[in-house]
C-alpha cells in the first residue's frame, strides 16, 4: 500500500463525506422503520403474553418492572390484574447469550408467588414458557424451544384447522409449577420427566437457566412486584 502518494486529506474528506451521506440515509430509513419495529416487538410480546397469562383486565404492557438478575440479564415483568388483584406476571428475558448458536429470548408466565404457571390447553397441562427468539439447530435445539405443530403435506392440501392455545413441548412443560429456590434446576435427561435433550444440552441448559433466572428474579423481588409498577 502506498497511500502516501495521493492527497491524504482529500481522501479522508471523501471517505468522510461518503460515510456521512450513508449515515444520513440510514438515519432516514431508521426513522421510517423504527416505529414499525417497535410495534412489531410490542405485538410479539403482547401475543406471547396473552398466551402465558391468565385472563386479566388491565394493560400489563404499561405495568412493568425491570430487574437485573444474577447473570447480568435484565428481566422485565408485566403485571396482570383482574379486578385490581394481581393474577400473575409475565417475565421476559432477552438475548441470554448462551444458546448453541446464538441467544435465547423467552417469556415466562408466573403465578403470583413467582412459580412458573401451568396452563391447561387442549387437554394437557403446559407450562407458561414461550421461547420468543432462538437460533438453535433445527430439529435439535429447536425441539426444545419451539411450541409448534409440525405441518405435513397432507395438512397443506387438507386444510386442517388451527388449534388455539399452546402446543405442548415436553422439554418446556417440565417447568410447569416449578419455583426457583436456592438449588439451581438441573438438566434431566433420562427418565419420565425431561427438560433436556441428548445432543442438545446447550440449548436445554440455556432455556433452563433463563427460566430459572426469571423465576428467581421474581421470587427475589416479589415485594416490589406486588406493589405494582413504579
Amino acid at each position: 500500500m502506498s497511500a502516501q502518494k495521493i492527497n491524504i486529506p482529500m481522501l479522508g474528506v471523501f471517505l468522510g463525506v461518503v460515510a456521512a451521506a450513508a449515515a444520513g440515509l440510514l438515519a432516514g430509513v431508521q426513522g421510517l422503520t423504527a416505529e414499525r419495529i417497535e410495534a412489531n416487538k410490542k405485538a410479539a410480546i403482547s401475543l406471547a403474553m396473552n398466551q402465558v397469562l391468565p385472563a386479566y383486565d388491565n394493560e400489563p404492557m404499561t405495568e412493568t418492572n425491570t430487574f437485573a438478575c444474577a447473570r447480568g440479564w435484565k428481566v422485565t415483568f408485566y403485571t396482570a390484574r383482574k379486578d385490581g388483584q394481581i393474577v400473575g406476571y409475565a417475565g421476559k428475558v432477552d438475548n441470554t447469550d448462551d444458546g448453541f448458536s446464538g441467544t435465547v429470548s423467552l417469556i415466562v408466565g408466573l403465578d403470583a408467588d413467582g412459580s412458573v404457571a401451568s396452563i391447561a390447553s387442549n387437554g394437557m397441562t403446559n407450562s407458561a414458557v414461550i421461547v420468543t427468539a432462538q437460533t438453535e439447530t433445527p430439529g435439535l435445539g429447536t425441539a426444545i424451544a419451539e411450541r409448534k405443530l409440525q405441518k405435513t403435506i397432507t395438512d397443506l392440501f387438507g386444510g386442517s384447522e388451527e388449534i388455539p392455545g399452546l402446543v405442548g413441548n415436553k422439554y418446556l412443560d417440565w417447568y410447569a409449577g416449578k419455583k426457583a429456590g436456592e438449588e439451581r434446576w438441573a438438566i434431566v435427561k433420562d427418565g419420565e420427566k425431561v427438560n433436556g435433550k441428548t445432543g442438545a444440552t446447550i440449548t436445554s441448559t440455556a432455556v433452563c437457566e433463563a427460566v430459572y433466572a426469571v423465576s428467581k428474579t421474581a421470587v427475589e423481588h416479589l415485594d416490589e412486584l406486588s406493589k405494582g409498577a413504579e
Binding site: M1, S2, A3, Q4, K5, I8, P9, L11, G12, V13, F14, L15, G16, V17, V18, A19, A20, A21, A22, A23, G24, L26, A27, G28, Q30, G31
Partner: protein
C-alpha cells in the same frame, strides 16, 4: 426531530470517517516506506501467472528487475505483444522482445514405434531414469511418463501413447519443461519454424533403427530436398532444422522422410503421423 437525528448521525459518522482517514494519512506519512510505484504499475501490467518463465521468482520479482533495467519487458514469455509494448512505453524503454519461442520435444518414439523394457516402478521420468535409465530402448528418447506435462503450468504438453507432444499454440515458452526433462530432450525453438526433426539420438543410424522406427537416420533426403538453401543442418548422425533459416512445411512432403522423423509441428500435435512410419 427527524432532521436533528439525521444531522447527528451524519456528523458523528463523518467525524469518524475523517478522523480515520487522517490517522491513516498521518501514519502512512510517518511510516512511509519508499516504494518505486513503477514496480507496482509494471506488476499490474504483467499477467500475474507467476510461472517463472522469465527466469525470475514470480511476476513481482520480474517487475522489480524490469524497473531496475536488469530485464527487458519482452522477457516475459506470457505477455502479449501489446502488454509488452504497454510496459515499455510506460517505462519509456525498449521492449527488447525476442522472437516467440516454443518448446520442442525432440522425439517421435511413441509406444508403438519403440523398443521398451518391462519397467516396473514409479511412473515419472525423473524417477525412472534412476532405475536403469528408464524404460526405453533408446537412451535418448522420451520416456513417456509425463514429467514435462506435469511441469507445464499451461497444459501445453500432452502425453500421447507414451510420448510427450507439445501443442505450440498453448506453449508460452516458460521453459519449465526444459528444466524437467531428465533426457534433456526439450529445446526452445522459434514458434515461426514449422518443420522439426523429432529425434535426438546421436547414435549411428543402424543402432537407432534397432530401437526406434521413427528415428532420424541421417539419410539427408531433407537436406537434399532443401537444395541450395541451408534449411537443414547435419550434426553427426542427426539432422537438425536450421532455425536461423527455417524451411517451409512443404519440405516434409518434398523430402519424403523415410522414418517420418521430419515432421510438421502442427500435424505432429494433431496426431497425424500415427502409424505412418514405415
Amino acid at each position: 426531530m427527524e432532521l436533528k437525528f439525521i444531522i447527528i448521525s451524519i456528523i458523528s459518522t463523518g467525524i469518524i470517517g475523517v478522523l480515520l482517514g487522517v490517522i491513516i494519512g498521518v501514519v502512512a506519512k510517518a511510516f512511509a516506506v519508499e516504494i518505486d510505484e513503477r514496480i507496482e504499475k509494471v506488476e499490474e501490467l504483467l499477467p500475474g501467472a507467476n510461472c517463472g518463465g522469465c527466469g525470475f521468482a514470480g511476476c513481482s520479482a520480474f517487475a522489480k528487475a524490469v524497473v531496475a533495467e536488469e530485464a527487458a519487458p519482452g522477457q516475459c514469455p506470457v505477455c502479449s505483444g501489446d502488454d509488452v509494448a504497454n510496459i515499455a512505453s510506460y517505462l519509456g524503454i525498449e521492449a527488447g522482445q525476442g522472437e516467440k519461442m516454443v518448446a520442442l520435444v525432440r522425439c517421435s518414439g511413441d509406444i508403438s514405434n519403440t523398443v521398451r523394457s518391462l519397467y516396473n516402478g514409479i511412473r515419472d521420468c525423473r524417477s525412472a531414469v534412476v532405475v536403469a535409465g528408464g524404460a526405453k530402448g533408446c537412451d535418448y528418447g522420451c520416456l513417456g511418463f509425463g514429467s514435462c506435462a506435469n511441469a507445464c503450468p499451461f497444459g501445453a504438453i500432452e502425453m500421447r501413447d507414451g510420448l510427450a507432444v507439445v501443442h505450440p499454440e498453448l506453449c508460452v515458452g516458460c521453459e519449465n519443461c526444459v528444466a524437467t526433462c531428465p533426457k534433456n530432450l526439450i529445446v526452445m525453438v522459434p514458434a515461426a519454424a514449422e518443420v522439426h526433426v523429432y529425434c535426438n539420438s546421436p547414435e549411428k543410424g543402424a543402432a537407432k533403427r534397432q530401437v526406434c522406427k521413427t528415428a532420424c537416420i541421417a539419410c539427408r533426403k531433407c537436406v537434399k530436398a532443401s537444395g541450395e538453401e541451408e534449411h537443414m543442418l547435419v550434426d553427426g548422425f542427426l539432422v537438425k532444422t536450421n532455425y536461423e533459416n527455417p524451411p517451409s512445411a512443404d519440405l516434409v512432403e518434398a523430402s519424403a522422410c523415410p522414418t517420418t522423423a521430419l515432421r510438421v509441428a502442427g500435424k505432429h500435435a494433431a496426431n497425424e503421423y500415427q502409424g505412418v512410419s514405415k
